[in-house]
Symmetry: C3
Subunit: 243 residues, 3 copies
């Protein structure tokens, strides 16, 4: 028996706005305490971790652990059909994930579960030295700003600023965001703007996000719900100068 | 002499939003009491009936009956140019329909009348057993919801619900809308989602619409103005299981 | 040393919305009193004049006259990145124009200056007889209205009206705008609708614009800032009946 109910369905839609742009099929795992996702895109560049504790939901029941393998774009497509005052319910049967919106009408959608060898990937453990917070929509805008110049950008954290910069044939761009953290070193790494944009499609998941940067290390982007019981994280492999 | 004036020009625009997506050329007929339309799309699937009594208009004058054959998309294109506070006037001369918007400026557009053998089609008489009312925008949404799964859907009316359902390779969808009518039987018929979407482009013509359903019978969708003096109706041929 | 600062950056963005649709590369000239633009599109149909006096800007400094040759689309692309509460700063170095937005972050964009033989074109002196004022957004709408019928339209000014009219295979359109000026003659000239639409992309530069019309003469469209210290003007060559 697996079943959840959620009035604030925007949360799931926002997460899958991003997830569905990165991976095709995923396996959600549910246990009595939380709903989890661990997955890696096929080019092995972006690792996604999502943990939604049962308190995120208005109702959550999972008697025995479940693996729910779904097509991400199809699932996102259904989530987008939610209307403002609908209550979202998700459960499963033998072959399907069942998404129900309870509102003016009861709208029930079944999506076939997919066959997927569950490889239970674990995110690499990283000790990334510098971490700053920034409003999610600002970070999204800044990344989009730089698309004009190049297909990759530098993330730099120094004592005062989170800096995004890049250059190309048309010119160069540099964005300096005063981070207000106590940081004593300078670190930098380069990333694909396209991959960053995929991640930032989750910007509405939480108003603020954290970014962790280390020299030529992966970028760690963390969206945490204000209630602290839900987290969506991305680990993005760096691009090297000669890529 | 044929002439009409209408401040609430949205009404005509909303009707032709749908009509122009279904038929290319039409013949409007006007008599001293009302403006009428009867037409059938070229694939003989959707029959449209529109009757706008003279009281719908702020002014209406038609001394002798007129047949006004026009290109629907062109006419709709002109109607879309209306601005909020404009007053719409329509009249005809020998060769043209003349659409005038009176507002910040007087904007006058003439469209050549088309040559059209007027065949005066009459809608087939049907005795469709079950009828329910539903807000037009909801019905429009529900139909769009199911496009994801299939190109056709079932309309089912039972004692309690108007149900729309369909299935396909990706899964299945079912929408249950509590109709609140006194209905004692169960009826169902299958329709093309694309054709239904064309009809529902008229959803703003009136806030509420009626649908009449019978086993494998055509679907009758009726939009009535709140003032009861204007009606836009569609009769949509069913699709059969083996189509 | 050339540097300017502007909180109301919409003004520049609105101007370049139009300018960048007409010309590819331009040379801005700056002197101690104002920023100027004179340019002619490659087909020699539209002449653009822009003069922004130093009082337009919150800060303006230009010690020695400067010629700043830039790619218009790239420059417009950067201007579009401005956020509502940003302050815009523009300066130059040897090889670049540097556009900085000061807001949540400092966002600094450098665009390479282009090589351009500066030909300093001067607009032809014209004595166009009739001039009327009209809200910019209305003129824009009226021109767009007529695109449906033809690719060119007539500008006519008579005692009472500014008239735009055209005809084509689908029919004809005529727009009469009561101008309220003291005009004693009738003048007309024909223009490309596409070129007029390019000009009217500047409609937000000022709420009201002036148009000057003479028989088969160029059209003069003038957008003036309410503060009277900034002006954006277009001189559009007429199309002849046999074009």
């Amino acid at each position: 028996m697996f079943q959840l109910e959620l009035a604030d369905h925007e949360l799931l839609k926002n997460a899958f706005e991003s997830i569905s742009s990165i991976v095709d099929e995923i396996t959600l795992t549910a246990d009595s305490e939380a709903l989890h996702l661990r997955c890696l895109d096929t080019s092995h560049i972006t690792f996604i971790t999502m943990d939604l504790e049962k308190t995120v939901f208005d109702e959550y029941q999972c008697d025995t652990p479940e693996k729910i393998a779904i097509d991400c774009k199809d699932f996102h497509n259904i989530l987008k059909k939610a209307k403002k005052n609908d209550i979202l319910r998700i459960n499963i049967d033998e072959d399907n994930i069942i998404i129900t919106f309870e509102g003016d009408a009861r709208r029930k959608f079944k999506l076939s579960l997919v066959d997927m060898e569950y490889d239970n990937p674990q995110p690499p453990k990283m000790d990334i030295p510098c971490k700053v917070n920034i409003p999610s929509d600002l970070l999204k805008t800044y990344i989009n700003d730089l698309e004009f110049f190049s297909e990759r950008l530098n993330f730099i954290i120094d004592e005062n600023y989170l800096k995004l910069s890049c250059d190309g044939q048309k010119g160069e761009g540099e964005i300096e965001y005063l981070h207000g953290e106590n940081i004593l070193e300078v670190v930098s790494a380069m990333f694909s703007i396209e991959k960053l944009q995929e991640i930032m499609k989750a910007s509405k998941f939480s108003k603020e996000c954290s970014v962790e940067v280390g020299d030529d290390m992966p970028l760690h982007v963390i969206f945490t719900l204000p209630t602290n019981d839900g987290k969506l994280e991305y680990l993005l492999a760096p691009r090297l100068e000669n890529d």
